[in-house]
Symmetry: C2
Subunit: 256 residues, 2 copies
Amino acid sequence: MTSSVAQLKRSCEQCALSCFCLARDLLGSERTRFASVVKRRRILKPGDNLFIAGDRFHALYILHTGAAKSYLISESGEQQVTGFHMPGELIGIDGLSDHVHAYCVEMLETSSVCELPMPELDRMIATSRALRHRFLSLIAKALIDEQQMLLTLGKLNAEQRLAQFLLNMSQRHATLGGSESEFNLSMSRYDIASYLGLVVETVSRMIRRFQEEGVIEVEKRWVHIIKEENLRQRLAEAAERSLAQANKKRVMSSSA
Amino acid sequence: MTSSVAQLKRSCEQCALSCFCLARDLLGSERTRFASVVKRRRILKPGDNLFIAGDRFHALYILHTGAAKSYLISESGEQQVTGFHMPGELIGIDGLSDHVHAYCVEMLETSSVCELPMPELDRMIATSRALRHRFLSLIAKALIDEQQMLLTLGKLNAEQRLAQFLLNMSQRHATLGGSESEFNLSMSRYDIASYLGLVVETVSRMIRRFQEEGVIEVEKRWVHIIKEENLRQRLAEAAERSLAQANKKRVMSSSA
DNA sequence: CGTACGCTTGACTTGGTTCAATCCTGGTGG
DNA sequence: CCACCAGGATTGAACCAAGTCAAGCGTACG
């Protein structure tokens, strides 16, 4: 037991991820203390659930390696993917509201996850200003990302949703030190479709369209973004129609 | 100055809202201390912005009376309404991530708003366990609500989106002590449409459909929900098709 | 008074879904 | 070792829910 804790301390202090995760802003002694909050590393296989909706909440998690998705089951029994998680990200915040998890988290790859029991984490949030601020910052970031996603689902067409998704994945891979233009997707087309509020056929067709136009290259789950700026352009293009219309109106009223 | 602070203390302790807002779980001395964190009450008129995207973040807000909407502006210049706020709700959490607000908040009615400067609030979060937990709970609740909205935009059709919206509004009005079946909407049809990822014409048509079927009664922004259970039913009905299909498959494979 | 805006309604169009067929790949069992 | 099968992915054709366009009504407000 003791040795495993010691090992965890070492792993937290030497962890390459610590410049991204909740521990990012912690210095010397605080980081050591944080390491002692980490209870253990769980190893999970693809398809395993870290938790499901209705599970009692007792700890937060940081994804250490691998990838995961979170999803809700609608009243009519359909799965809606609400997010993908990459190393360094905080998982399980949904349980803070009433100590029961509101959604499900399932691994997409073999992953290791750091478990942070809430009582200990809470104590450290109270006493470490740096950790508290980092913690709130990560939660707020999650909130902002979801808002962005509301915009994606509310305003963008299928092509733009896929463009947005690819750019987002690219950027997150880059943040973790990977290539910005070449990476592997860890989720299925079905997951992508659900996440983007589309059906799998539409996702497939949009990928083909991008390939035919030479914007990306795709081989199964491997993606190569050839013209990033082209993808960005498409996101702004919803304006054209509505702007053109607004201009038309302006012209009409000024000529009248 | 002093007298105004005193007045605020009184108002926090006697505020009818305190059984809903951030101060809910605070007892005697802590509630008094919380009252001293509240800097002032700002009064805003319909159309006024509490803050807009890009504004520097320095305080959180609790809506005291009135109503507000939050929205994002997409890259192509369109407005996407991401939420509606009612009394007691915490506003401005988005600024915690990098001290700049990510979205805009605009009043829908003449409203009063309690301002909680972040440095003072942060100190109290660190020291009051009750406040800290209530704070995290409210943030997590916001996150869960947004996830639910992702499901709405990703999986529900126009009719179901409106049903969901009406039930949600009804429930929130009831929580604040109003009628569950009769209330006034504070937002325009345009805001509702944007929020639900629809166009205003579709919202108008769905309202008409519900009225023709005797499920609701609407007069301008006043709503009377006649058959709540009917609205609920519709939310589960997406299943029919997919469940029917799943059953068909099961029959096929068992007969084969 | 008029005009601009919120809202409604009808006719038409279309982007994305649905349905159906096929291909590919990895895993399982004979 | 190969045959077989299930599940992921792709593709084409037909369809429809929601968007677009256009017109009109009521009313709040300068």
